[in-house]
């Protein structure tokens, strides 16, 4: 064998070895990805973890971290998902990947309703010069954060930054307009017991509140007129005031409940009918 042939043999051996190791890692990745695509998330995570364990050169580290995170997210394991997205972000090679992963973390925080965290992360993205061309996407997720925080007015504001005619701008505006004013319900009940309940459509409760307040108010005033001052004060304090205060709390509770119902109807629409990207 000539010297050239010897080198050629060594080269082939080396190349064969590399291609062999790449092949089995690739096959393992395909297997894990197939399980992921079939929504068999538990097994997909196992196989991605196996890939990471044997992938000593970390070729698949970032992509597998991200897919593990997605699998955890789809399985409802949000904390684990954030942990793996964070690892994926650390191992990311370019700024587009980093941005995409940061948005994924925001989306999980939206789902977890950890609004503070989501807004803080989005604020960091807005301040970062690298993503100045992605303002619309950042605003989009700000809007979703406010939707999940039940702040439809702020959500409207965020979506309108993208476009005043955006489907979500219109939906959030409509939802916000449909909502009852909790403050108005309370003030109405302060002026006339039961009025706040009437405002929210709870007529029987409104009448009951009005009746109780009138009854104990009458007994209290009557006792005071008859100069049974202590009697009057005690009835006013412990009975009339108790029902008056209950009436205020009731008015507030009904307004909050109605608003929750309106929010849920909108969320239900978003879940089943909205075609765009959701958290």
């Amino acid at each position: 064998m000539t010297l050239l042939n010897k080198y050629l043999l060594i080269l082939l051996l080396y190349a064969g070895n590399i291609s062999f190791s790449q092949d089995y890692l690739e096959e393992q990745f395909d297997l894990a990805k197939k399980l992921y695509d079939e929504e068999n998330y538990f097994d997909a995570i196992t196989e991605f973890k196996r890939l990471q364990f044997f992938d000593t050169s970390n070729v698949y580290l970032s992509v597998s971290d991200e897919l593990i995170a997605q699998a955890y997210k789809n399985g409802g394991k949000f904390n684990e998902a954030i942990q793996y997205f964070t690892l994926a972000e650390i191992n990311s090679k370019n700024s587009d990947d980093i941005f995409r992963i940061k948005i994924e973390i925001v989306r999980i925080n939206i789902l977890k309703r950890t609004t503070g965290n989501a807004l803080r992360l989005l604020d960091d993205l807005i301040k970062d010069e690298r993503w100045s061309n992605k303002k619309d996407e950042i605003n989009y997720w700000c809007g979703w954060t406010y939707i999940f925080a039940d702040e439809w007015d702020k959500a409207t504001e965020e979506f309108s930054k993208i476009s005043p005619d955006h489907e979500l701008t219109l939906l959030c505006e409509k939802t916000n307009n449909k909502k009852y004013s909790v403050a108005f319900a309370k003030i109405a009940s302060i002026i006339l017991p039961g009025a706040g309940q009437f405002y929210t459509g709870n007529y029987i409760n409104g009448l009951l509140s009005l009746g109780w307040c009138a009854l104990w108010g009458y007994i209290s005033v009557n006792a005071l007129i008859e100069e049974r001052v202590f009697d009057g004060l005690v009835v006013a304090n412990f009975l009339w005031f108790r029902f008056y205060r209950g009436n205020l709390e009731n008015a507030e509770k009904f307004a909050v409940e109605k608003n929750l119902q309106i929010s849920n109807e909108s969320l239900d629409y978003l879940q089943h009918n909205y075609k765009g990207t959701r958290p």
Partner: protein, 276 residues
């Protein structure tokens, strides 16, 4: 050239076998060990379960029930600890872990009946610890403390004393106090605000009833009497219920503290190197 040709041919023939390379028994075992040390116990158990019999060893046979125990799947852990081979180097340790699991699973009576006549120190400790959870008669204080190392004696003495004389409140006394002076039963339980409120509410309704009867408002007099009586009886019932809730809280907090302490001390069972 022949050699080169043969090599290329060989490398082509080897390719179809690559898909299973990471799933060979040896690699599966390595991966399972990695998952176990990463505290992903459920996946590690599945991986160990895939291993053929010839690849399994004493360590794996011991790690499987241990993983179940660490996941809180006590019934499976007990079953698997029992199946550890007597020839295994981990057999003694698995027996200890078996009894520790019985304690963790809250199967105290079973543990007590199985270890009643066992004089080995490690088992005696688990037996004595089980008495801290049950209403069965406690062992003598000196015997109890002797079984444990010096570092744990002080805390265990405190748990022992609390078990022996729990700081319960009598529901009978609480109800009786409230029957004599409304609200006093609640004050006896430490709920001073509730006690004062109950006293004021009952007294006021009694006064309002008296005042209305005096002013010849019979209907209002009866109305306030009824409300006063409702508050009075409600307060007695509330005081009895509050005493029971208080005692349940004492029990709950005692068990929480004890469980936390024992978990930190690994139930006074020697730890395993591969669980860290």
């Amino acid at each position: 050239m022949k050699i080169i040709f043969l090599f290329i041919l060989f490398s082509f023939t080897i390719k179809p076998q690559t898909s299973n390379l990471l799933h060979t028994p040896a690699n599966t075992r390595k991966f399972a060990d990695h998952l176990f040390s990463g505290k992903d116990y459920l996946r590690s158990v599945f991986e160990y379960g895939k291993l053929p019999e010839y690849e399994k060893n004493d360590t794996i046979e011991f790690k499987i029930p241990l993983a179940y125990q660490l996941m809180g799947k006590y019934d499976l852990a007990l079953e698997k600890f029992l199946s550890v081979n007597k020839e295994s180097v981990y057999y003694d340790q698995s027996v200890k872990e078996y009894y520790k699991t019985l304690l963790q699973a809250g199967r105290y009576n079973e543990l007590q009946s199985k270890l009643a006549n066992n004089d080995v120190k490690d088992f005696q400790r688990l037996l004595y610890l089980s008495y801290l959870f049950t209403s069965n008669e406690l062992p003598a204080e000196q015997n109890f403390l002797e079984a444990f190392p010096l570092s744990g004696k002080e805390s265990l003495l405190s748990f022992f004393s609390e078990k022996k004389n729990p700081p319960y409140k009598s529901s009978l006394l609480s109800g009786l106090f409230s029957a004599i002076i409304p609200g006093s039963g609640k004050i006896y339980l430490g709920e001073i605000g509730d006690g004062i409120t109950a006293f004021i509410a009952t007294s006021l309704f009694a006064f309002l009833s008296y005042d209305n009867f005096r002013a010849n408002h019979d209907f209002r007099g009866w109305l306030f009497s009824g409300l006063g009586f409702f508050f009075y009886t409600g307060n007695i019932y509330g005081s009895v219920a509050a005493a029971q809730i208080y005692n349940a809280k004492v029990d709950y907090e005692y068990k929480e503290k004890l469980n936390e302490y024992l978990q930190n001390k690994n139930y006074f069972v020697p730890g395993n190197d591969f669980v860290k």
